[in-house]
C-alpha cells in the first residue's frame, strides 16, 4: 500500500512537472511576442520582467525534477538581476539616462 | 615537479600586471619592460638549452597527472618557437617607444603586449586541446586591445571584422573540441592521439571529418587560401610594431596548431588530409597571396600580403609529411617569424622616413637613409630565399621533399611564388629607395635610426640562421624525426 502510494505520487509529480513546463514555455513564447510587438517601451519592459519571473519558475521546477537544492541560489540570482534590469529600463524610459552625473 | 615549462607563460603575465599599475609613468614603464624582456629572453634561452640537452620538460598544472590535469609541454618544437617569439618580442619592446605616440603607450600598450606574449607562449606550450583554445582567447583579447590602439576610424572598422571572424572561429573551435571529447573522452592531446589509434579502421571517417573541421578553425587563424580575406586589411591598420607582432606571431600560432595536431593526432589518413587537402591548399595559398602582394602600392600592405605565401610554404611541408618536408617547415616557420618582424619594423621606419605609405609617391629614400635602404634590400633577399640566406635553406629542404615525392606542380608553383615574392619586395626597393630624391622626407634622422636598430638585431639573427645553417640544421632534423615518431611526446606527457 505504502509503495503504491509513493509510486502514484511520483507519477503524478512527473505529470504535473511536464504540464508546468509546457505552460511556462507557452507563456514565455507569448511574452516574447509582446516583447517584439509591444506598442510602447513600457510594454516591452513589463514583458521582459515577466519572462524573468517565468525563468525563475522554470529553474525551481528543474530543481524539483533533479531533486537538488543547489539551484535555490540561482533562483535568487535571477530575481536580483531581473530587479536591477527592470529598474534600469524604467529609469531609461522615465529619464532617458540610467546613471546621472548628479542626482539631488 | 618541474615548473620550468610554465615560466614562459607566467612571467609575461606577471609583468603585464606590474606595468598595468603605472600606465602613465612612461619612463619607468619603458625601462622596466625592456629590462624584464631581456631577462625573460635569457631565462627562455636557458630553458631551451635544457630541453635540447635533457629532453622534453612537462609541467602538470596543479599537480594533477596528465590525462586529468593540464599539461604544459616544452618539447623541441614548441620551445624553439617560444624562443623565437621572445627574440621578436625583445626587438619589439625596443622599437615600440619610438614608433608609438605617448598617448598610445599610456593606454596600456605594455600590458597588452605582455599579455600577447603570454598567450602566444601558452598556445605554443600547451599539451591540452581545450587549454589551446583558452590561450587562443588570451592572445586574441590582447590583440583586440592592440588593434584598436590609437582609435583611428579605419582601425575601428577593421577591428570589428577581425573580432567577428575570430569569434566565429573560436565558436567553431569549442564545438570541435566538444566533438572530440564526445568521441574519445579526453582533451589531452597525447591522450587523444593514443585513443584515436584504438578506434577501429571502419570508424575512422568521423575522425577525419573532425580533423578537417579543426583544420578549418586553424586555417582561419593561419590565413590559408580561401580564408585569408580578413587578414591583409586588419593587419595593415595598426601601428607598425603591432603589425609586426601580429604578422610574426598570430598567424604562426594557427600554422603551429596545424603542425601539432596533424603530426600528433590525425595521422591515420595522410593520403587524403595531408597529401591532397594540404598540398592543394598550399598551392593556392602561395599563388593568391603573392598576387595580392603585387596588386597594391601601399608598402605596408605589400609586406602584409607576403605573410600569406609564407603560410603556404609551411603548409606544404606539413602536407609532404616526410622528414625533409617537416624539417623544411620548421626551418621556414622560424625564419619567417624573424624576417617578417624585421621587415615590418623596416617598413615602419620607411613610412616615417618618406612620410607616405604610397609607393608611387616615394623615391630616392636611400640617398638620405642609406642604412635603412640596404637593410631593406638585405631583408628582401633573405625573405625571397637567395642563397646563402635562411629563406633559401628552408625552401631547399621543402623543394627537395616535394621532388622526392614527385609533386611537380607544387614545385613549380613554389618556385614561381618565391620569384614573385622577390618581385613584389624588390619593387619597393627600386621605386621607393632608388631614383630622384623626393620632397617631403622627414628631418627626424634620429627617429628613423632608432627605428632601424631593432631590425638590425633581427636581421642578424636571420642571417645567422642562414649562414650558420650548419649549426641549426641538426636541431631541425632532430625536430622532424621527433615529430614523425610520436611516441616520445606521448610517453613524455602521459608517463612524465
Amino acid at each position: 500500500m505504502q509503495d503504491q502510494l509513493e509510486q502514484f505520487g511520483e507519477q503524478m509529480l512527473n505529470v504535473v512537472l511536464i504540464i508546468c513546463f509546457v505552460t511556462l514555455t507557452i507563456s514565455v513564447l507569448l511574452l516574447l511576442i509582446r516583447t517584439f510587438k509591444g506598442p510602447s517601451n513600457a510594454d516591452r519592459a513589463v514583458a521582459i520582467d515577466t519572462i524573468g519571473v517565468n525563468m525563475m519558475a522554470i529553474t525551481g521546477l528543474v530543481a524539483i525534477q533533479l531533486v537538488t537544492d543547489k539551484l535555490n541560489d540561482v533562483v535568487l540570482l535571477i530575481g536580483i538581476l531581473l530587479f536591477i534590469g527592470t529598474i534600469a529600463i524604467a529609469k531609461f524610459i522615465e529619464k532617458g539616462v540610467i546613471i546621472e552625473q548628479n542626482n539631488h | 615537479m618541474n615548473n620550468l615549462a610554465i615560466l614562459p607563460i607566467i612571467l609575461p603575465l606577471l609583468a603585464s600586471v606590474i606595468v598595468a599599475f603605472i600606465p602613465s609613468k612612461l619612463n619607468i614603464v619603458r625601462k622596466l619592460s625592456q629590462a624584464l624582456m631581456v631577462i625573460f629572453l635569457i631565462i627562455v634561452g636557458y630553458i631551451a638549452w635544457l630541453v635540447y640537452h635533457n629532453g622534453v620538460i612537462v609541467t602538470q598544472g596543479g599537480g594533477w597527472d596528465a590525462p586529468f590535469g593540464i599539461s604544459i609541454v616544452a618539447d623541441y618544437l614548441s620551445i624553439l618557437l617560444v624562443l623565437t617569439t621572445y627574440i621578436i618580442a625583445t626587438a619589439a619592446v625596443f622599437y615600440a617607444p619610438h614608433s608609438l605616440s605617448d598617448q598610445q603607450e599610456k593606454f596600456y600598450f605594455y600590458t597588452f603586449y605582455f599579455l600577447l606574449i603570454s598567450g602566444v607562449s601558452g598556445a605554443f606550450l600547451t599539451g591540452d586541446l581545450f587549454n589551446l583554445f583558452v590561450f587562443f582567447e588570451v592572445l586574441l583579447m590582447a590583440s583586440y586591445g592592440l588593434i584598436v590602439l590609437g582609435n583611428g576610424k579605419a582601425q575601428l572598422r577593421e577591428s570589428l571584422k577581425y573580432v567577428l571572424v575570430n569569434l566565429f572561429s573560436s565558436m567553431l573551435f569549442v564545438t570541435t573540441i566538444a566533438f572530440i571529447y564526445s568521441l574519445v573522452g579526453t582533451v589531452n592531446m597525447a591522450h587523444i592521439a593514443e585513443r584515436v589509434e584504438a578506434i577501429p579502421a571502419e570508424q575512422q571517417g568521423i575522425i577525419t571529418g573532425i580533423g578537417v573541421l579543426l583544420f578549418f578553425v586553424f586555417a582561419v587563424k593561419a590565413a590559408i587560401f580561401p580564408l585569408y580575406y580578413w587578414l591583409p586589411n586588419s593587419y595593415v591598420v595598426p601601428n607598425p610594431v603591432i603589425s609586426a607582432l601580429f604578422g610574426a606571431l598570430l598567424t604562426k600560432i594557427g600554422i603551429y596548431s596545424i603542425f601539432r595536431v596533424y603530426t600528433l593526432i590525425f595521422v591515420h589518413d595522410t593520403a587524403f588530409t595531408h597529401q591532397q587537402l594540404f598540398i592543394w591548399l598550399a598551392i593556392f595559398t602561395m599563388l593568391f597571396g603573392v598576387i595580392g602582394a603585387l596588386s597594391t602600392n601601399n608598402v605596408k600592405l605589400i609586406v602584409t600580403y607576403n605573410i600569406i605565401p609564407a603560410i603556404g610554404f609551411i603548409l606544404m611541408g606539413i602536407g609532404l609529411y616526410s622528414e625533409d618536408g617537416l624539417a623544411g617547415s620548421v626551418y621556414y616557420l622560424m625564419h619567417d617569424m624573424v624576417v617578417k618582424a624585421a621587415l615590418f619594423f623596416l617598413i615602419g621606419a620607411l613610412v616615417v622616413a618618406a612620410g607616405t605609405k604610397d609607393l608611387s609617391k616615394m623615391s630616392g629614400v636611400i640617398q638620405r637613409f642609406p642604412l635603412l635602404g640596404w637593410l631593406f634590400f638585405l631583408g628582401t633577399i633573405v625573405l625571397a630565399g637567395v642563397p646563402p640566406f635562411s629563406g633559401f635553406i628552408g625552401k631547399l629542404l621543402l623543394l627537395r621533399g616535394a621532388l622526392s615525392q614527385e609533386y611537380f606542380l607544387l614545385t613549380i608553383v613554389a618556385l614561381l611564388s618565391s620569384l614573385l615574392i622577390l618581385l613584389s619586395m624588390i619593387r619597393i626597393f627600386i621605386r621607393g629607395f632608388w631614383g630622384e630624391k623626393m620632397e617631403g622626407m622627414t628631418n627626424d634622422n634620429r627617429k628613423v635610426h632608432a627605428l632601424t636598430i631593432p631590425a638590425v638585431f633581427l636581421l642578424a639573427i636571420s642571417i645567422f640562421l642562414g649562414v650558420g645553417a650548419e649549426y641549426v640544421l641538426p636541431y631541425v632534423d632532430t625536430i622532424s624525426t621527433y615529430l614523425l615518431d610520436r611516441t616520445e611526446y606521448i610517453s613524455a606527457v602521459l608517463k612524465g
Partner: protein
C-alpha cells in the same frame, strides 16, 4: 533636467543594496564546493554598486567609494597570479593548492583552502572589469580623457 520624485527607488535601494552585498559574500564563500565562487560573487557585488549608482547618481557614489576600478582589476590579477605562483615556492607545480580543517575561535571547525586566495583575485577582477565597462558606457561625456588618443 526636471526634478523627479524617486522616493520608492531610494527607500528600496537602502535595503536591497545591503542584501545584495550580503548575498555576494555568501556566494563568494559558497564557491568552494557548491554553486558560487569569485566570479558570481563579484558580479553580485558589482550589481549592488550599480544599483547604488543608478539611485544616487555618479558624483555621490564616487565620493563614497573612492576606488579606481582599473587599479582594482589589476590588483585582483596580481593576487590571482601570485596565488598560482605561491605553490612554486614550496616546490609544487603551478596552481597547486593546499587545504585543511582548522578550529577557529567563535565559528568553530572550518574547511580552509588556499584556493580562496585565487578566488579573491577573481572576485576583484570581476568587480573591477564589470564596473569599468558599465560606467564607461553609461557616462560617455565629452570631456573624457581617453576620447582623443592620437592615431
Amino acid at each position: 533636467m526636471k526634478q523627479s520624485n524617486d522616493l520608492i527607488l531610494r527607500t528600496t535601494t537602502q535595503i536591497i543594496a545591503f542584501m545584495l552585498l550580503g548575498f555576494s559574500v555568501y556566494l563568494f564563500f559558497a564557491g568552494h564546493n557548491a554553486p558560487g565562487g569569485g566570479f558570481i560573487g563579484g558580479l553580485m557585488t558589482s550589481a549592488a554598486i550599480i544599483l547604488m549608482y543608478m539611485t544616487y547618481g555618479f558624483e555621490k557614489i564616487e565620493k563614497i567609494i573612492p576606488i579606481n576600478f582599473r587599479t582594482l582589476t589589476v590588483t585582483g590579477l596580481l593576487i590571482a597570479v601570485l596565488a598560482g605562483m605561491g605553490s612554486m615556492l614550496f616546490g609544487a607545480s603551478f596552481l597547486s593548492h593546499a587545504d585543511g580543517y582548522y578550529h577557529l575561535p567563535l565559528i568553530g571547525e572550518k574547511h580552509l583552502a588556499t584556493a580562496l586566495i585565487f578566488d579573491l583575485g577573481v572576485y576583484l577582477v570581476v568587480v573591477g572589469i564589470t564596473l569599468t565597462i558599465i560606467l564607461s558606457i553609461a557616462t560617455d561625456s565629452e570631456d573624457e580623457s581617453n576620447q582623443n588618443v592620437g592615431v
